[in-house]
């Protein structure tokens, strides 16, 4: 596939991610911050988000497995996850976190468990999609092209 086709594929893919609500305009902010001084900024901050999120999801799983659930602990992790997903523009993850926090406030274990499943699902989706997008970007760069905005 030639560079122009790859670039078009990337633009279409990216557009679909916004269209389907996986990403919001905060992700555009990240792209705008990337420059020659920091050419890998987006990948770096998204990688931190992945690292961070996986840690919180593990903690949440453990916390919700306890006999007596510590909702403050659960809420603390969801709050972090909500914050970081919001900061990188992972809209669907952020939205599940909002519902998740409501269940925490109500001390509703069932609701929390449901949200945990959902947030894991949304996280895994956005992770896969972002990784695909980064791979496509890398293909373009390797082929000697530049990443279209």
């Amino acid at each position: 596939m030639d560079v122009v086709q790859l670039q078009r594929q990337l633009v279409d893919y990216r557009t679909s991610l916004y269209h389907e609500g996986f990403l919001d305009e905060q992700f555009t902010q990240l792209q705008e911050l990337q420059d020659e001084n920091n050419p890998h900024f987006v990948v770096e901050v998204v990688s931190l988000f992945f690292e961070d999120s996986e840690r919180h999801l593990n903690e949440l799983t453990t916390a919700l497995e306890q006999q007596s659930v510590d909702f403050r602990r659960v809420d603390a992790h969801v709050h972090q996850l909500k914050g970081s997903s919001s900061s990188i523009g992972a809209q669907r993850v952020q939205q599940v976190c909002i519902a998740f926090r409501n269940y925490c406030e109500e001390q509703n274990v069932e609701g929390c468990l449901e949200c945990l499943q959902q947030v894991k699902h949304e996280y895994s989706l956005v992770k896969t999609k972002l990784e695909s997008m980064f791979q496509l970007e890398q293909q373009i760069l390797t082929a000697g092209g530049s990443i279209p905005m």
Binding site: L33, L48, I88
Partner: protein, 151 residues
């Protein structure tokens, strides 16, 4: 978000072209973002992951000598998250405003829009309150506001 005419009259800290900012946030992703946003606005940035580390950096921790001993590089602005475990951004703000560094502007960031929280912070001396997620326009506005106050 501006405090609406809330410039401290006796601000003696110079907010020059390359201010040194201390950014405090317990969230790893947010720390990376705020650092980049500030650097893109020509700021020198030091980050801290919590209030205690921030106080230590400023030379204000309980077991430290006076911050004016010259070993701490001058900080022109402190920007801190509100919700942090241990010491909240509000508590950090209070400690700074009660210290020898009380003239250093402190900006609070939060993901929650709470008018009570905002007025509480402004009353305690915060220069500005900013809603997360932070964008480039927020940082530009912040710089403009602070440069206006220092002239």
């Amino acid at each position: 978000m501006d405090g609406g005419g809330g410039c401290s009259k006796d601000m003696t800290v110079e907010f020059g072209d390359e201010p040194h900012v201390l950014a405090v946030d317990d969230n790893l992703t947010d720390r990376k973002l705020v650092e980049k946003l500030l650097k893109s606005s020509s700021c020198r940035v030091t980050t801290a992951e919590n209030g205690l580390r921030a106080l230590e950096y400023l030379g204000l921790a309980n077991d430290q000598r006076n911050a004016m001993d010259g070993t701490v590089s001058k900080v022109n602005l402190i920007i801190t998250d509100y919700c942090m475990p241990g010491m909240t951004g509000f508590e950090l703000l209070k400690k700074i405003k009660e210290s020898v560094l009380k003239e250093v502007p402190v900006v609070i960031m939060s993901s929650e829009y709470s008018p009570t929280r905002i007025s509480q912070c402004l009353k305690e001396g915060a220069q500005m309150f900013m809603l997360k997620p932070l964008k480039q326009s927020d940082v530009k506005q912040l710089k403009r506001h602070l440069m206006k106050c220092s002239s």
